[in-house]
């Protein structure tokens, strides 16, 4: 037994040594001589940067044409010519695999951070590093470069992402469904209220079972029911009362929950929660023509431009988001951006790349205003107008709907203490209500009790 242990230890040491050797750089007299020669040659040339590898894991960002164009261009720029860009492919399990890869020490220099919930998760866990010092070294002023989006790059006082863009939701609609139902298209200037939207969805609903056309498509994302509430209250930080406890008893939350429930079970104008769970309906389902309306970010606009992947025989329309009350346009969205993981081997260079990608993203933006404010976006909506000419979607309409300066913006995700838990509790309790296993009062009461218990800890 002792001998065996000794043998195992020896084997471990030997393997360790071999592994160590494989990581050390080769050096030989011949190589050193070559280096001397090349160094003397280089004395007469401008200083050449050491070649480095830059690993980017951007997940779903890669479906954004402006990001792809930015990645293509950055690799042609002289300033980054010493970098070998390794761009990892998008993965359906990005949310799980990426953090594990970082935790296991895999080199990643830039990652995609999709929303404020993930930004909080990654920042609190130490997946991504704060960028303040890196920004100072670069001499970049975030407020100047990113305007109002700079605030959304922070957790507390520290910057954690380089904002890429802030999604802005609009109302998409299928003109064929409206025509068939004999309904007027939504007004492109004056938003309807959520109550009007629900009534309209009911009127657009036709047919039965597999031939059914729904008035609207709502995903399982909680924003689809609580959106009205944060619009009315002013954003994701309004999930908390002044004492820092849950604000879920604010009547607008119950109203929003009930409206969604009625659309599912009374009007039957949206697929039920059960149907969505079982059929695992994706947001792309809107492109199949079976839904009258859908509120979403600009990704639907990108899909509608991609007629090869999403062929359709119906015309698309866009309008301002429904609002809680009044005629002032309102919307919600969230900022996504580039984070630098703790395993970045070149954080300073990664910061430069992230800023440059944000700049180039603005330059190549076609369907969403970029977060970077110091670069023009000459192609914004131009390509969309060209491709969507048959849908009668013009640049003016796109600008008016997506980038109206008068639109009141609310952050769509829960912003505050224990927001990851809050998100989970809301999901668990609301789905019990939507599958008719719990009444509205109990749902609100449970969210309040469970969250207060967590928040006072």
């Amino acid at each position: 037994m002792k001998k065996m242990i000794a043998f195992m230890l020896a084997l471990t040491v030997m393997l360790g040594t071999i592994a160590g050797c494989s990581q050390t750089q080769e050096s030989s007299p011949a190589k050193d001589k070559d280096n001397e020669v090349s160094q003397s040659e280089n004395n007469n040339k401008p200083e050449k940067k050491e070649p480095i590898k830059m690993v980017l894991n951007l997940g779903g960002f890669l479906s954004d044409p402006s990001v792809v164009a930015a990645l293509d261009e950055i690799q042609t720029l002289e300033e980054f010519s010493h970098m070998e860009f390794v761009i990892l492919e998008d993965d359906a399990d990005y949310d799980t695999k990426m953090p594990i890869a970082v935790a296991s020490g895999e080199q990643m220099d830039i990652i995609g951070v999709f929303n404020s919930i993930n930004r909080t998760r990654y920042a609190e866990a130490g997946t991504i590093i704060p960028m303040d010092d890196l920004a100072d070294k670069m001499g970049i002023d975030f407020e100047e470069a990113f305007g109002s989006h700079a605030a959304n790059a922070k957790i507390g006082d520290d910057i954690f992402i380089v904002p890429q863009r802030r999604s802005s939701w609009v109302l998409y609609y299928n003109k064929a469904v409206f025509d068939k139902a004999g309904m007027d298209y939504p007004d492109t200037d004056v938003p309807m209220t959520w109550d009007e939207y629900a009534a309209l969805a009911a009127k657009l609903t036709m047919g039965e079972s597999s031939n059914k056309t729904y008035g609207a498509l709502h995903m399982l994302w909680p924003i689809f029911w609580y959106g009205e509430a944060i619009m009315a209250l002013g954003g994701g930080d309004k999930f908390y009362d002044p004492e820092g406890l849950s604000n879920i008893e604010e009547p607008i939350f119950a109203k929003a929950l009930e409206r969604t429930y009625k659309m599912m079970h009374v009007d039957k104008s949206i697929p039920t929660h059960a149907d969505m769970v079982v059929s695992k309906t994706s947001p792309q389902a809107f492109m199949n023509g079976q839904y009258g309306m859908m509120v979403s970010g600009s990704w639907v606009l990108n899909w509608s431009m991609d007629k090869e992947t999403y062929p359709r025989d119906w015309k698309l329309g866009i309008a301002p988001m429904p609002v809680d009350a009044g005629t002032v346009p309102k919307t919600w969205g969230d900022t996504r951006g580039y984070g630098i993981p703790v395993t970045s081997t070149h954080p300073e260079e990664a910061m430069k790349v992230a800023i440059e990608l944000a700049r180039l993203g603005a330059k190549h933006a076609i369907s969403d205003p970029a977060s970077y404010k110091l670069e023009e976006s000459p192609n914004l909506y131009v390509k969309a107008e060209e491709i969507l000419v048959e849908d009668q979607i013009t640049i003016d309409l796109l600008k008016k709907t997506f980038a109206n300066p008068d639109t009141v913006f609310a952050v769509e995700k829960i912003m505050g203490k224990n927001n990851v838990d809050y998100d989970q509790v809301i999901k668990e309790e609301s789905e019990k209500y939507f599958v008719k296993e719990q009444d509205l009062e109990t749902t609100i009461k449970n969210i309040k009790e469970r969250m207060d218990k967590i928040l006072v800890k």
Partner: protein
């Protein structure tokens, strides 16, 4: 002579050890080390991104948190319910099917293969098919129930009450093929002479099954009971694909809870503590089964 013998003995040992070395290395690297490492993590507030430098020793705090956590309580209850629902049903159905397939029936090979198919199918594909069958609104199962006069059939995986039984049903359907094959092997080890003797004594088919088959196949039943109980506690992929713990927390199981806290919330220390608590729960249940076998297993 003695020296030569000793050398021979050493050589023989060396050969023996060299044969088991790959297994020992594999076990050490992929089982023993992770096991011990998780024990270490369970007493730490472990930051998986910063390693030891970003982590602190917390003693038994994580274990205390396990017993205070509402998700863990819900998960362990769900696991126990799942075990009680699924394991006996799996064994009973599998034994009955195996007994039927042990007869000389037409197309026996094909039928055996059919029952084995779900076991070798990928969980995701099988779960999608199963979910479609049990779709609360458009599924053929509920369609049939409505036809026979049940106006408000269950919501299956979309119902707090029915989600866990539905997943259990899927799990039974998926694992039945394996249990049937094992039972068949057990049944084929029972001598025909017992049945012939019973038949001469006037025992009918049910009596033969009850008093010969069931007792003599009990070692196989015990083996499958132990492995199925452990497997039922390890249920994860079915939950992850079909329900993701919902609706509410009605299908959160312990392994899913471990996955959620470790890899979605990065709370490694707590997740490791849950793993160890869970390990002891499974050990205790297996121990009880082991003790109980004296009463009903006939070797």
């Amino acid at each position: 002579m003695v020296k030569r013998n000793r050398m021979k003995h050493i050589k023989e040992n060396a050969v023996g050890y060299s044969f088991i070395l790959p297994s020992i290395i594999g076990f050490g690297l992929f089982m023993a080390y992770p096991l011990l490492h998780s024990l270490f993590l369970s007493v730490m507030d472990w930051n998986m991104f910063k390693g030891l430098s970003g982590s602190t020793f917390v003693g038994l705090e994580n274990y205390k948190a396990v017993f205070e956590n509402e998700y863990f309580r819900a998960a362990i209850m769900n696991n126990l319910k799942f075990m009680v629902m699924a394991v006996p049903l799996l064994l009973i159905i599998s034994l009955l099917l195996a007994a039927l397939l042990n007869q000389k029936i037409y197309g026996r090979g094909m039928i055996r293969a059919m029952y084995f198919m779900p076991y070798i199918a990928t969980i995701t594909a099988a779960a999608v098919v199963f979910s479609a069958l049990f779709h609360p609104e458009f599924g053929p199962v509920n369609g049939l129930l409505k036809l026979v006069g049940i106006a408000d059939p269950p919501g299956w995986i979309a119902s707090v009450k029915w989600a866990l039984p539905t997943v259990a049903l899927f799990w039974i359907w998926k694992n039945m093929g394996y249990c049937v094959v094992i039972f068949l092997a057990g049944l084929q080890g029972i001598s025909r002479s017992y049945y012939e003797a019973a038949s001469i004594d006037g025992a009918n088919k049910y009596q033969q099954f009850r008093h010969i088959t069931v007792p003599l196949v009990s070692p196989t039943t015990f083996f499958l009971a132990v492995t199925s109980v452990i497997a039922s506690f390890q249920v994860f992929a079915e939950i992850n694909v079909m329900t993701q713990g919902g609706p509410g927390t009605s299908t959160v199981t312990v392994v899913y809870h471990i996955y959620d806290t470790a890899f979605k919330r990065f709370i490694m220390g707590y997740a490791s503590a849950v793993s160890w608590v869970f390990f002891f729960v499974v050990i205790c249940i297996t121990g009880l089964q082991w003790l109980g076998q004296k009463k009903w297993v006939n070797y």
